[in-house]
């Protein structure tokens, strides 16, 4: 313990220099802007600044990277809440309750909840990283295809949270999303599936344009198709101040649970912030005392999503730093940046370059405080954006959606994906289906198929229930689907006895 404290003090000395603090501030500001821009994600943000650090001291460079990475995860929530355009894929879940609260006239509550959840989640993820990096990384390595498949199937059970009143509608959305995720060249045999002559689809349907289409573009089409419903739902923006500590006091369990879920899922290579926020949202609703508010502007829903995606950053850094295994696209960029600066990730990094490792730990923790400061100050700007009349804001959002779709891969075809998914999302919403269920299927489809087939190549179906972690996820999935049925039965019991 004393050794850990002394190493952390070394890290603190690295960060508390003029260049260290400057990098921290610049990183947080860049990260928030990158995250808020639709189509840009944390990986792109970090990749963009890597060339700027060629001649820089590695310690300062990694402070910049980590601050950008963490802040970009928060930045995604701003546009998700303000204009229903998720800046990053992981903030898609935040858009559901965040934009609902904005429509009710309480954007300051939604922005405040996202900010405090990101800060607390990021801090918890950082603390777990500092305390348990090496032992937890070993556990993550035990994950095989069966575990990954069952984790993803468990993620599907979140549908109960998204469409609780009509399971058929929820299942239709999920199955549609899963099917659309299979419009891709077969990952094992290379057979072209469902894409015909459209070669842009050989790599699959690009996720970011689909996401922007289903959420933001669909919202704008609805504005034009049903102007009455839009004006009905638009409330006056109130200037009630958001009280962050009251929020922590009201929902302490939500903060802790979501941060733990986010960190644990972040540790698993390949799972990432998006899956973490979906699973956390589902669990959040399951344990909430105000479950009926989820999807209609629940502060707890925003906390569940944001705390999980921010804490996943700390989690994802665990396998990267201690084993050299990148857990997400951003971590892969960080791994490349380590090599670029002549460093090798893994246990030796802790011994040879403790000032860099512990500098990363300390900067991750400090970045959260700066995110809170800049987020708090910046929220006034976003509140001003929300107050712009729809006739001016809507056309700008429209071109922003298409531009964000293009920017994600530099492909004009992705603008078509955004447009078509926008039409689909508009009709799904009007018919009472949650577009988030389609997103859930799209996110998890690839992971389920690849790992399901890998498991069967390794053995048979028994692997799913004989391996302990896989069996645990299988059990949790069954529970997730069965519990609501039992609750409904219990609720209806007194009526039948009468």
């Amino acid at each position: 313990m004393m050794e850990l404290i002394s190493q952390l003090l070394t890290g603190l000395t690295t960060v508390m220099t003029v260049s260290g603090i400057s990098m921290l501030i610049i990183g947080v500001l860049i990260g928030i802007i990158i995250g808020a821009l639709p189509g840009m994600n944390p990986a792109m943000g970090v990749a963009l600044i890597v060339p700027l650090t060629y001649g820089m001291d590695p310690s300062a460079a990694f402070i910049l990277f980590v601050a950008t990475y963490q802040a970009a995860n928060y930045g995604g929530s701003i546009t998700a809440i303000a204009i229903n355009t998720p800046g990053t894929p992981s903030s898609a879940v935040t858009a559901i309750d965040g934009f609902a609260l904005t429509k009710k006239g309480h954007p300051e509550k939604a922005l405040g909840a996202a900010l405090i959840a990101s800060t607390v989640g990021g801090l918890i993820g950082g603390i777990i990283l500092v305390l348990f990096a090496i032992p937890i990384a070993q556990v993550a390595l035990a994950f095989g295809p069966a575990e990954y498949c069952m984790l993803a199937v468990f993620g599907l059970s979140t549908v109960v949270a998204f469409q609780p009143e009509n399971w058929k509608k929820g299942c239709i959305g999920i199955v549609l999303g899963l099917l659309l995720s299979m419009v891709i060249a077969d990952p094992f045999t290379g057979d072209i599936r469902f894409s015909g002559e459209i070669y842009e689809l050989y790599d699959g349907i690009s996720f970011i344009p689909a996401l922007i289409g289903l959420f933001a573009f669909a919202e704008i089409l609805t504005y034009f198709l049903f102007p009455e419903s839009e004006s009905d739902s638009k409330s006056e923006v109130t200037a009630t101040p958001f009280l962050p500590f009251k929020s922590i006091k009201t929902f302490p369990a939500a903060f802790l649970r979501s941060s733990l879920i986010g960190t644990l899922i972040g540790i698993i290579p390949g799972a990432g912030a998006t899956i973490a926020s979906f699973i956390s949202y589902g669990q959040g609703k399951r344990f909430s005392k105000e479950a009926e508010l989820f999807g209609k502007g629940s502060e707890e829903g925003i906390i569940a999503s944001e705390a999980a995606n921010s804490s996943s950053v700390g989690g994802a850094l665990i396998p990267l730093l201690s084993l050299g295994i990148p857990g997400s696209a951003t971590d892969a960029v960080l791994l490349g940046a380590l090599t670029l600066h002549g460093l090798v990730a893994g246990p030796e990094l802790f011994v040879k370059n403790p000032e860099i490792v512990y500098g990363i730990f300390v900067s991750l923790l400090l970045a959260n405080f700066l995110i809170f400061f800049f987020g708090w100050t910046g929220n006034r700007i976003w509140l001003a954006v929300i107050k712009i009349p729809s006739s001016r804001l809507v056309p700008i959002i429209l071109v922003l959606c298409l531009l964000g779709s293009y920017a994600s891969r530099g492909s004009s075809f992705d603008m078509w994906i955004c447009f078509l998914f926008g039409i689909l999302g508009c009709f799904l919403k009007r018919a009472g289906y949650q577009p988030a269920t389609v997103v859930l299927g799209l996110v998890l489809g690839g992971m389920i198929e690849v790992n399901y087939r890998r498991t069967l190549l390794m053995g048979d179906y028994s692997l799913f229930y004989t391996r302990p972690v896989s069996a645990l996820f299988l059990g949790l999935t069954i529970l997730s689907f069965v519990m609501p049925v039992i609750r409904t039965f219990k609720k209806s019991k007194p009526n039948t006895s009468e």
Binding site: L402, Y433, I448
Partner: protein, 171 residues
């Protein structure tokens, strides 16, 4: 199997027609959506069955066929529930299809024009059209458009190094 599902498409078709004839336009949108999803399911089923079979675990079509069948069955069940009036009550706000059709049409034309004229000329026309549809004043529309183009150039092209699409006609 594909023939059976193709035949069963009569059910969602019938529920749509029944809704129009019975003037139950309340759920017509959902029925049309379900019919489209059902037909999409049949399409996936047809193409999934046509994929080569390498054995149970390695076949590229196994999961898509299962999922397509599931989608067809679920949409059939939901269509029947909607036609029997068992589905959720949806709000029946009045639709204004003309601006919607104009917007989707303008977007389709814009997306076709981007590869031909390049990003900036196509976006100028598109943004002005959308601002006109949103009933914004002309001078303000021009100001917003110019502001947007400058912002894209400075932020995306200069700061982030993302090149906007160049047109065949302009390059």
């Amino acid at each position: 199997m594909i023939q059976i599902f193709a035949l069963l498409s009569v059910i969602p078709f019938y529920t749509c027609i029944q809704s129009v004839v019975g003037k139950k336009t309340h759920n017509l949108l959902e029925l049309i959506l379900l019919l489209s999803l059902y037909l999409a399911g049949v399409w996936f089923l047809y193409h999934g069955l046509a994929l080569p079979d390498y054995g149970e675990s390695t076949s590229p079509g196994t999961l898509p066929v299962i999922l397509a069948t599931l989608l067809c069955l679920l949409t059939l069940m939901q269509s029947l529930a909607v036609s029997r009036g068992q589905a959720d009550n949806l709000s029946s706000n009045r639709t204004t299809p003309i601006p919607f059709i104009m917007l989707t049409g303008a977007t389709a034309v814009y997306l076709l024009l981007v590869p031909l004229t390049g990003y900036y000329p196509a976006t100028t026309g598109y943004l002005l059209t959308v601002l006109f549809l949103a009933r914004e004043r002309l001078m303000l529309s021009v100001f917003i458009t110019v502001f947007w183009l400058i912002a894209v150039f400075l932020l995306f092209e200069r700061a982030l190094g993302i090149s906007m699409p160049e047109g065949l006609w302009t390059s």
